[in-house]
């Protein structure tokens, strides 16, 4: 690959200094306290409706300013997903509107039925306890397959059968006919091949960002200003406008630094409610912060899913046909809806489709009375790849095949184009997966360990495991991909960079600065990025999700940067015509075609601002409308110790090796991989929102009962890469942010299988499930 100047530099993060000094401002740090506080009253039933609410006593609590109930708010449903909106020309692509500010129709345990506004949170809590609610209660349904049988009262009237969506991608009859089959099932059941069927399940993982969901709203200049912890400020502005029924221009959203999002903050939660309260109270500043406990059931975790899989394969180690059917439980509200399980079944197909003659990817998304669910890092793909890898692990194990060799024979390779995607946009233009696997295999000492761990006995055993992954980059061609960037030359020759894309901890500000510097021809240190988004002035961008920003927003940065470079050179030519054509900008100066310095960039910048006859503030504003996609790949290898009587798995060594295209900043990509590995290890072994199926109530809504890994639960994490130069990325780059949370969990599953011979299908593999499995197999 061609060496670039600023892209590829492992430079220090542009936000690190402010963050280690405590100076970086997050939402609550900016709140003008004391201000009004708002707290929500949640239902104590999981399904039914509010018959009446008596707020008389609550309103008498000293300090209470107002109590609003579900009968006071406008009857205007709005969509909450962090998806692009669509113009009338593509109105059919718009998200469903199924949420109200407060609702008398209770769909989930803890649904939002009233809100107290008071001078302080103590008064809020006291008043909440004094609100009397009369309910009409209906039976709760939590199992999606039960829900599909129909309920007396549909969860949402817009979907009377509780089915949000159903999709099925099948190999075409023409393609099946080539192999003498009429249906996909014919290929799966062909007696010339081995047949296997498995059922997998994945629980609801919670994002557990350390900053809770917070906003404060006030009115200024006749507009509602909402300062919020969000990944998607421009979408939030639109949704607040929709929810309040006011022009979107009357809403201004400000997004400061945020303390993690991982998908929660790709939904709109309580900011519209807060904006509405503020509007009711004459624009006084109101703060609404969710508690740690509320986050577990009143924002959106990963959708719980189950999958039925069938496959046929030959003695030549080649997959012949596979079928996946997935059911996803979206809970009482659609949020991100069907896109999530669609990602599960699609990624299942992409990863090992190379030799298959037939394939089925079918999925249902179902309304139930379960908690809110929505986007979480990698958006359905960890569940699909978990299932794909359970299947691969089982086949290799059952046939005594080497798991790496078997996977390499069947995995995605360079040139893959998904036949089911419109226009074939989802494709692996580059793929260094085999080299990634080679690196990982060597590091974990695969062959030696396989020999060492063979034929173990006793209660404590060791194993090594492997899993591969695929992930697409951004959301084209399924959804609109657009981003805008603005670059402006400052008086001193430095550059101001403004993005609609957001820094959410992933390092976006730093890599955008590097890409801008590369395009313009200056140093990254010369680029000043405006980190906060204020929708009144920030360019439009959908925000941080889908591992899209470095790819899509990066394309906008490159476009704007190249345009500014041209403007700088044209201005230099105008000022110094004698220097001729073909000027160059490098080393903070303008050079002519013979290599002679024309002027410094700083002096040219001063002329641009202050030249009496020809001043021109040099700036470029560019939108990128991206229609391509690029598949990123990689793998994880894990070495574990399994204490069977304790149901305890210790990850001793673990490595993820990835093809993310070209690394814009290798140290920042490494950071992403570490964090994703930690979250995946948590999902593999302990993280699950537990729901009482009778009431729909979340049982473990604290950080003591919902276990994310602590420093003592994780081993040293090893990240490595084999770069490729993707032709569609602005600088050869592909998805990064979400990719590392996919393959560690199934690699741990594979290592447990290697250690014990026991097959687990339900993630997370908690001590409970492990002990049950070892007992079932007679090992303890």
């Amino acid at each position: 690959m061609e060496q670039l100047r600023e892209v590829g530099r492992p430079i220090t993060r542009v936000d690190a200094y402010d963050k280690v000094t405590g100076r970086a401002k997050f939402t609550d740090d900016l709140c003008p306290k004391p201000c009004l506080e708002a707290r929500i009253l949640h239902s104590t039933i999981g399904n039914g409706r509010v018959v009446s609410i008596d707020t008389t006593e609550a309103k008498k609590v000293p300090g209470v300013v107002a109590v609003f109930t579900c009968f006071d708010v406008p009857d205007r449903p709005y969509p909450v997903a962090g998806h692009p909106w669509y113009a009338d020309s593509h109105a059919e692509k718009r998200d469903l509107a199924d949420r109200k500010l407060l609702d008398d129709r209770i769909r989930i345990y803890g649904d939002n039925i009233a809100v107290v506004v008071a001078e302080d949170t103590v008064a809020c809590d006291r008043a909440l306890r004094k609100i009397k609610v009369e309910y009409e209660e209906w039976p709760v349904v939590y199992d999606p397959k039960e829900s599909l049988k129909g309920t007396e009262h549909p969860v949402q009237d817009i979907k009377p059968d509780n089915l949000v969506a159903h999709t099925c991608a099948l190999t075409s009859p023409e393609n099946l006919a080539k192999y003498g089959y009429k249906t996909v099932d014919d290929a799966i059941n062909d007696p010339a091949y081995h047949h296997i069927a498995i059922h997998t399940e994945t629980g609801e993982q919670s994002q557990v960002h350390i900053e809770t969901c917070t906003s404060f709203c006030y009115m200024e200049g006749g507009k509602i200003v909402c300062v919020a912890s969000t990944q998607i400020p421009h979408i939030m502005r639109r949704v607040i406008g929709q929810a309040l029924g006011i022009p979107w221009g009357d809403v201004r959203v400000i997004k400061p630094y945020i303390g993690g999002g991982f998908g929660t903050k790709q939904d709109i939660h309580y900011e519209p409610l807060n904006a509405w309260i503020c509007q009711q109270l004459g624009g006084r500043c109101v703060r609404l912060e969710l508690s740690r406990e509320e986050l577990f059931w009143d924002t959106s975790g990963r959708q719980p899913k189950s999958f039925d899989v069938e496959a046929s394969y030959g003695d030549d180690m080649l997959l012949h046909a596979r079928s996946i059917r997935g059911w996803s439980n979206t809970g009482g509200y659609i949020h991100h809806g069907h896109a999530l399980v669609l990602n599960s079944v699609n990624s299942f197909r992409w990863l090992y489709h190379t030799n298959e003659v037939a394939s089925r990817s079918e999925a249902w998304t179902v309304y139930t009375n379960g908690p809110h669910t929505g986007a979480m890092r990698a958006y359905g793909v960890p569940e699909g790849v978990w299932t794909a890898e359970c299947l691969m692990g089982d086949i290799a194990h059952d046939n005594g095949w080497d798991g790496v060799e078997f996977r390499l024979k069947n995995c995605i390779r360079e040139g893959f184009v998904d036949e089911f995607t419109p226009g074939g946009a989802v494709a692996a233009h580059t793929c260094t997966l085999p080299q990634c696997v080679e690196k990982g295999k060597e590091w974990i000492h695969w062959d030696e360990k396989k020999r060492e761990y063979a034929n173990q006995t006793g209660p404590i055993r060791h194993g090594v495991g492997v899993a591969f992954f695929v992930y697409k980059t951004a959301v084209a061609p399924f959804a609109l991909e657009t981003a805008t960037s603005r670059v402006t030359l400052n008086q001193d020759g430095s550059v101001q960079l403004q993005m609609g894309a957001t820094e959410i901890g992933q390092g976006a500000d730093t890599v955008f600065s590097q890409m801008a510097a590369e395009a313009i021809g200056v140093d990254t240190e010369d680029v000043h990025i405006v980190s906060f988004q204020d929708t009144d002035v920030a360019p439009y961008d959908a925000g941080a999700y889908a591992s899209r920003q470095t790819y899509v927003s990066g394309t906008a940065v490159k476009k704007a940067g190249l345009e500014l470079r041209e403007k700088i050179l044209a201005f230099a030519h105008r000022l110094y015509p004698a220097a001729g054509e073909n000027l160059d900008l490098r080393d903070h100066a303008i050079w002519d075609a013979t290599g002679r310095q024309v002027c410094t960039l700083a002096s040219l910048a001063l002329e641009a601002y202050y030249n009496v006859d020809a001043n021109d503030q040099l700036s470029a504003y560019a939108t990128a409308n991206v229609h391509t996609n690029a598949i990123a790949t990689g793998c994880t290898f894990a070495d574990v110790t399994v204490d069977m009587p304790l149901g305890k798995v210790t990850v001793n060594r673990i490595i993820s090796v990835q093809d993310n295209g070209r690394l814009i900043n290798p140290k920042l990509v490494e950071q992403q991989v570490h964090g994703g590995m930690g979250q995946s290890i948590g999902f593999a072994l302990s993280e699950e929102v537990q729901v009482d199926p009778k009431t729909g109530r979340v049982l473990n809504d604290t950080l003591l009962d919902y276990k994310i890994p602590t420093m003592m639960d994780l081993p040293d994490l090893k990240a490595d890469f084999v770069e490729s130069d993707d032709p569609t990325g602005p600088y050869g780059n592909k998805a990064v942010g979400e990719t590392p949370i996919i393959s560690p969990a199934p690699a741990i599953r594979d290592a447990i299988l290697d250690a014990t011979g026991v097959k687990f299908y339900h993630m997370p593999m908690t001590p409970q499930r492990l002990v049950e499995g070892f007992k079932r197999e007679g090992l303890i």
Partner: protein, 168 residues
């Protein structure tokens, strides 16, 4: 409830501030003194984001009543930088080792690391993990945080400790 006056030392300076006797030190620091570098993640002592040093001891300020802070010597993240503006070795190590992502848990972890650093002792990686296990971070997988703390305590061991060779 009637307000009271807190008299204590915060970041080396004597402070007098009114407080509600029911309020946590975290709220007093953030809401009355505008020391917003100390973060609120759970309010029940589970996450460690609100850690400050009270008389040198790393403490969850969300669980510590302001009322108990009378006469105490409190250090927050805002008081860590030296008077000349230079960073504490822990802060510098967090930058150099790429230990910072969203940054929300970082001030709390830095305060606990400073408590360790100021003992002048050296720590193995396992000891660092154990010492800091009360801090939750969701971005980093802790890898670079452990690297940074290891580096910083080694630097300070050379300055104030015995400069011992690590065995592990």
């Amino acid at each position: 409830m009637a307000m009271r006056i807190l008299k204590c030392t915060i970041n080396g300076k004597p402070v007098e501030v009114g407080y509600d006797p029911r309020e946590s030190l975290l709220d007093t620091l953030r809401d009355r003194l505008h020391l917003t570098g100390t973060k609120r993640g759970c309010e029940v002592g589970e996450c460690g984001a609100c850690t400050v040093l009270i008389d040198g001891v790393a403490t969850d300020s969300c669980l510590y009543l302001t009322d108990w802070a009378q006469g105490k010597d409190i250090l927050t993240i805002e008081g860590v930088q030296k008077a000349d503006g230079s960073l504490d070795p822990v802060q510098q190590a967090f930058i150099d080792e790429f230990a910072v992502q969203c940054g929300f848990c970082i001030p709390g972890i830095i305060m606990s690391a400073i408590e360790m650093e100021r003992t002048g002792k050296t720590y193995t990686r396992d000891e660092i993990r154990k010492q800091l296990s009360g801090h939750l971070c969701r971005c980093t997988g802790y890898e670079n945080i452990v690297n940074a703390v290891e580096k910083a305590v080694d630097v300070m061991d050379g300055v104030v400790g015995e400069g011992t060779e690590k065995s592990a």
